[in-house]
């Protein structure tokens, strides 16, 4: 087993908290490069179709975008605070903060549902005749909008699953004040979701 294990819960069970966190970070790097590639495509398309991107972005709802930004930032803070709560042996507060995070995550998805619904209603989805009539630049914008916010929304759903998974383990005392790395890793994943949105928001909603 590892020489670097920071804590040992039993004589036989070895735990490598640092190693497990490193594994989570390596996974996060693959996510950053996945979205990074999409941001690269976005920047080249935008560079080549600046006017079309400005015109297309006017169709996005800045208010919903801002509300969802605030939701993700607050949920990022609540999941971070739940780690501090568990470290201080306050299991109840830790679980409450995780529940708040999940409620916020769900409301993000509800907003997304209505936002996407409005776009479909206005014929602004890939393949719609109205969108095709607007030219290739606006089509590229909306293709990237749906693909990137869709992939991000998928990450929100996965993140919620991860948080539910660790929340159950906290409830069963499988994760405790001196064994909380899995909660930290779920938190890291959730912050990644927030981090990606921090760039998606200005690049799609705020080009006016």
């Amino acid at each position: 087993m590892s020489d670097h294990s920071t804590t040992q819960s039993h004589g036989l069970v070895h735990r490598d908290d640092e190693g497990s966190k490193l594994g989570m970070w390596l996974f996060i790097f693959t996510e950053i490069l996945l979205f990074g590639a999409l941001f690269l495509v976005y920047s080249v398309y935008r560079f080549k179709n600046q006017d079309a991107f400005h015109a297309a972005a006017l169709n996005l709802d800045t208010v919903i975008g801002t509300i969802n930004t605030v939701i993700l930032i607050v949920s990022s803070a609540t999941i971070a605070m739940s780690i501090s709560a568990l470290q201080q042996k306050n299991k109840k507060l830790a679980i409450t903060l995780m529940v708040i995070t999940l409620v916020l995550a769900f409301s993000f998805l509800v907003n997304k549902y209505f936002e996407w619904g409005a776009k479909f209603h206005h014929g602004l989805y890939p393949g719609a005749e109205h969108l095709i009539s607007l030219g290739s630049g606006q089509n590229q914008f909306f293709f990237l909008y749906f693909f990137m916010t869709g992939l991000h929304a998928f990450h929100v759903i996965v993140g919620m699953g991860f948080i539910i998974f660790v929340m159950r383990q906290v409830m069963r005392d499988e994760l405790t004040y001196n064994n909380y790395t899995r909660l930290e890793n779920a938190g890291l994943y959730w912050h990644l979701v927030d981090l990606i949105w921090i760039y998606l928001f200005p690049l799609f909603y705020l080009i006016h």
């Binding site: 966190k21 920047s43 801002t66 607050v74 990022s76 605070m81 938190g187 927030d194 981090l195 200005p202």
Partner: protein
């Protein structure tokens, strides 16, 4: 059960998170506000600059890079440096066509 850890366990106080949360909300208000006053070409630069400050706060405080093993901070820095280089090389290509 042994409690000896090689390093002190860092418990981030709630106050730190409140401050960072407040800063992130203020920065969000700034980005949205900047959009309302039209800065033209500068608006992209301002938006990306503010987003990068927000992202750094999330990475350093929420993701604990400031308090954890500095190896993680170094790795994240390398990943972002490589990504910045890829963007730069791509645009050197497009701008010189």
């Amino acid at each position: 059960m042994s409690h000896d850890t090689h390093e002190e366990v860092h418990i981030t106080p709630y106050k730190t998170y409140y401050i960072i949360l407040g800063l992130l909300l203020v920065l969000t208000a700034i980005t949205v506000g900047v959009t309302l006053i039209h800065l033209g070409t500068f608006s992209v630069a301002v938006a990306l600059f503010v987003a990068t400050i927000k992202g750094s706060l999330v990475l350093l405080y929420f993701m604990h890079l400031k308090f954890d093993n500095k190896l993680f901070l170094a790795l994240v820095a390398i990943v972002f440096a490589v990504y910045t280089a890829v963007i730069a090389i791509t645009f050197i290509d497009y701008l010189s066509r």
